[in-house]
């Protein structure tokens, strides 16, 4: 559960890390340092969470297979 939850949370964080700068570049929302830094942090942590979750998920599946 942790693995899948990590992947899902990671996805939304990475998506935010993409959408926020995209909207700022298109001038839909005004540029600001705080939003820029926050989006960057979200992108990095989302990627990290997603990969951790995926690795944990893979390892669990691998062990399940080896049990059989």
């Amino acid at each position: 559960m942790f693995s899948k939850k990590s992947i899902v949370i990671g996805f939304f964080l990475v998506l935010f890390g993409f959408l926020a700068p995209f909207l700022m570049v298109l001038k839909i929302i005004p540029s600001s340092f705080w939003l820029s830094f926050l989006s960057h942090g979200a992108s990095v942590s989302g990627l990290f969470l997603g990969l951790i979750g995926a690795s944990g998920y893979i390892e669990t599946r691998r062990r399940k297979k080896s049990d059989y």
Binding site: V14, L15, V25, F33, S36, S43, I52, S55, I58, E59
Partner: protein, 876 residues
């Protein structure tokens, strides 16, 4: 609780998970903030040429920095009052004494750092941008407007990386040693190649085969949302995003996979499995926790390295983000903007590290702040230890070891000799170990291929340095003595013809001075000489030459000779190219000499001279040609020497560039430069990192703490931008570049890796026994600890070499390298600047091929070494 050493230890205090995470996060945040302050101070120190410590600045950091670098123009807000402020504050500083002076000095420096950190740097000195109806002429506004473009680039590549990495990891997990598994393992070394090199590959493919070029600045960004801009934007950003994504993909997947494979084979994992612990719990509690620190470190390093590439990637693709802005600011000497951008880079790094630490604290319940979770010494034991230390200082003759054994007194020379003996022993040990492992290397085919490549590169380097000395190479590369004048411009390599149906023409040089052209001197009735020059040559090509050049050096006293030119084709046509009494210069090209144009029909002389006008194919007629030049003199004494150069389309092993320089020289000399730079930087930085980590791990306490803090400062200090500042404003000599590179690399991620190994080595029993019989600290470090890390050091050094080779190439591309040496990066830069992407892509092929060859050679060896030194990776 008593230990054998007699100190009292106390059990940890339990705290809730929420307060644990909050405390840890606040502590890390403050630590990182302090690291940023130190980093900003260092940046301002470099930017101010050290004058920050003199206290002679005005009220405004931006104006002051602008004045230092552009004294003719005072810039920045508040500059009108700046001189008065300088005088008033200098007076205050001079009047202050003792502690007050220190306080005033600290206040000045803190003000500067505060202004730097809040980006209060005034106006941009030399340029501004216009975006969305607003003029961005302050440093803060300009950066604020530009930053989202860079973040969009990286955010999109992260999104892509997220999906593809997870998908790829899932494919790999389905079966061990599947084709995807092997592909990832094989391609993982490609992550050492920087993103802009991938961008170069992608751009060449896109331009040649898809007629698509995403390079080119977007001239103005819209003030309001327009849907068409979205599509235009996707087109412009697709290649840089793809380049960044590819450069990180394989490393991400391979690293994660490798870490889990190493730890999943541990004995305690098997024991836990045997005890029936569920797989999910096993993975989360027993497998992920020990690997998380390494993964966090590795991921942080990857994020740091990504930001190093931002400048070059944006410059290459002309993406107007903060990286491109930084380079423009360097070119314009706009120091306030440079400092502002460096601070922003630093913040981005801090945020990466901070968020990763925050997640790490949430995931791993062992992470605690300060003394929680660890056994701590009681006040009594601390006092006992202090007493022992003070007694040791006061009575040097009575020094005892930790176990109460009397230490042997040695002289300074004896100690120095001992250190060298231990160091030499460690070097010998390393060589013996390397030799043993080299034999094992030969069992891996990829390693053999890598060693062959490295051997070829070393042989080429030695040959080059011996046959073309440094001074000669520099002189040749600069084109001194017009040595390249007879070469064609932007010619392809000669071996190109092997792949063509119709060969491209080669350069033909005929000179009366060396006898390749005939000269016949006769005398007319008046006794004046008449010189006939015959240039006979075989032209077996169907394509026309690039240019025809004539160099005529007549010898006469007062009267100019009279020249006439006749061109004879293989099919017997005689073309009269006219008669002339004088030439504007001794050397002229047929296409540019106006007088010669009078006799030539058509656009290009080479078409007129080589192509049969009656033929429809428009190709040159192969066969024997002749140029007949007749010089009539009007004096008794007269002679002429002349050279005909028919410039071809191919030349040499590597072709020529736009300055007609033989690229073989740059490729040959680029080899020793790249290898020596890469090898020296890798060895020096790795050795120094290892020694510093050893000292920190051995002495612990404040030494280890200081090392950790320096690593953190280095992690948040944007090393590449700072290095570019030093190169641009101080020196571009190769040794300075090497020194700065090593200095900024010492406190990198390598220290953490070495430290973790040293901490384990320190716990071994032989260490304790060596301590018990009075071994000195230095001997412990050099004789007993460092040799145990050789197995980590060697693969690390080999992996780092191609990274530094690419760094040297990147610096050359940014025009931040040694201005005299011909290198691969310089060839790439000159080729790109002369339009290589729009047609002459072969100019990029040779240096790229050499770069990739070097990278693969070292990376293949590094992969095999990792498997030798870490047998658990043999299945990877």
């Amino acid at each position: 609780m008593e230990t054998e050493a007699g100190s009292d230890l106390r059990l940890p205090q339990e705290t809730g998970p929420f307060s644990r995470v909050i405390k840890y996060t606040i502590f890390r945040g403050l630590t990182l903030l302090l690291a940023v302050m130190v980093g900003v101070y260092l940046t301002i120190f470099i930017a101010s040429r050290g004058r920050i410590i003199e206290g002679d600045r005005g009220d405004n950091l931006g104006g002051w920095l602008g004045h230092i670098w552009r004294p003719s123009g005072v810039t920045g807000a508040g500059s009108a009052e700046r001189y008065e402020d300088i005088a008033a504050e200098q007076l205050a500083l001079e009047k202050a004494e003792g502690v007050e002076k220190v306080w005033v000095f600290l206040k000045y420096n803190f003000d500067l750092v505060y202004q730097g950190m809040t980006l209060d740097l005034g106006e941009v000195a030399n340029f501004w941008t216009y975006s969305g109806g607003e003029v961005n002429d302050t440093v803060s506004a300009l950066i604020r407007d530009t930053l989202p473009r860079t973040l969009l680039l990286f955010g999109t590549s992260n999104l892509l990386l997220f999906f593809v990495s997870i998908w790829l990891a899932l494919r790999i997990s389905q079966r061990n040693h599947s084709i995807w598994d092997k592909l990832v393992a094989f391609l993982s070394p490609l992550s050492a190649i920087p993103g802009w090199i991938y961008g170069l590959f992608l751009t060449v493919i896109a331009v040649r085969y898809l007629d698509f070029n995403s390079r080119g600045m977007i001239s103005s960004w819209p003030g309001e949302f327009q849907i068409e801009f979205v599509f235009f934007f996707v087109k412009r950003f697709s290649l840089p995003i793809l380049a960044l994504f590819i450069s990180k993909l394989f490393q991400s997947v391979y690293s994660w996979r490798t870490f889990f494979m190493i730890y999943s084979a541990e004995d305690y994992i098997e024991l836990a499995q045997a005890k029936g612990i569920p797989n999910r719990m096993l993975t989360r509690r027993y497998l992920m926790k020990p690997t998380l620190p390494a993964i966090v470190t590795r991921f942080s390093m990857m994020m740091v390295s990504i930001w190093q590439e931002a400048i070059v990637l944006e410059l290459f693709f002309s993406v107007s983000g903060i990286g491109h802005l930084f380079y423009r600011a360097l070119e314009q000497n706009d120091m306030p903007l440079i400092v502002g951008l460096t601070v922003v880079f630093s913040y981005l790094l801090v945020i990466s590290v901070f968020f990763l630490d925050f997640i790490y604290a949430i995931v791993d319940p062992r992470v605690r702040l300060g003394s929680e979770g660890r056994l701590t010494a009681s006040r009594r034991s601390i006092i006992l230890r202090l007493k022992r230390q003070i007694s040791s200082w006061l009575n040097p003759l009575n020094r005892k070891t930790r176990y109460g054994v009397q230490k042997v007194r040695t002289t300074f020379i004896q100690r120095v000799k001992g250190i060298f003996a231990d160091f030499w022993w460690a070097v010998r040990y390393a060589f013996e170990l390397s030799w043993e492992n080299l034999k094992q290397l030969l069992r891996y085919k990829s390693a053999v291929a890598g060693l062959v490549i490295i051997a070829i590169l070393v042989i080429v380097s030695i040959y080059t340095v011996v046959t073309i000395p440094y001074s000669q190479a520099v002189s040749m590369w600069r084109g001194e003595g017009n040595i390249w004048v007879d070469n064609p411009q932007k010619a392809r390599p000669a071996w190109f013809n092997l792949f063509l149906k119709d060969d491209l023409p080669e350069t033909i040089v005929l000179d009366t001075a060396d006898g390749t052209a005939q000269k016949l001197i006769t005398f007319d009735d008046d006794g004046f000489p008449q010189v006939d020059l015959f240039y006979d040559f075989d032209y077996p090509y169907r394509g026309t030459p690039q240019e025809i050049v004539m160099e005529i050096i007549p010898e006469y006293e007062t009267k100019l000779p009279f020249f006439s030119f006749t061109w004879i084709t293989p099919d017997g046509r005689e073309l009269d190219l006219g008669s002339y009494s004088s030439f504007a210069a001794n050397r002229f090209t047929f296409s540019q000499y106006n007088k010669l144009q009078q006799g030539i029909v058509g656009e290009k002389p080479q078409e007129f001279l080589f192509v049969d006008p009656s033929a429809e194919d428009g190709k040159a007629v192969p066969g024997k040609y002749q140029l007949h030049v007749r010089a009539r003199f009007f004096e008794p004494e007269g002679d002429v020497e002349a050279k005909l150069v028919i410039l071809g389309e191919v030349f040499g092993l590597a072709g020529t560039d736009f300055r007609r320089r033989d690229l073989t020289l740059a490729l040959l000399w680029g080899t020793p430069v790249a290898l020596s730079f890469g090898f020296l930087a890798a060895i020096c930085s790795s050795l120094l990192s290892m020694v510093i980590a050893a000292f920190g791990a051995w002495y612990r306490g404040w030494v280890d703490g200081l090392v950790q803090r320096l690593v953190e400062i280095n992690m948040v200090l944007p090393a590449f931008p700072v290095a570019l500042m030093v190169y641009n404003f101080y020196s571009k000599r190769i040794w300075v570049i090497l020194g700065v590179t090593v200095l900024l690399s010492i406190f990198g991620g390598g220290i953490k890796t070495y430290r973790s190994v040293f901490l384990q080595v320190r716990e071994n029993l032989y260490i304790e026994s060596a301590q018990s019989y009075g071994t000195s600290n230095l001997r412990m470090i050099f004789r007993y600890m460092i040799p145990r890390v050789i197995s980590v050091l060697i693969p690390q050094v080999v992996v780092l070499i191609p990274g530094y080779v690419f760094l040297e190439t990147t610096l050359a591309y940014l025009n931040m390298s040694d201005p005299y040496l011909p290198t691969w990066g310089k060839v790439l830069r000159d080729s790109l600047n002369s339009g290589a992407l729009s047609g002459d892509t072969y100019l990029l092929a040779m240096p790229m091929a050499w770069l990739m060859l070097t990278a693969f050679g070292f990376l293949f060896v590094a992969l095999a070494l990792e498997k030798i030194f870490n047998p658990r990776l043999k299945d990877v």
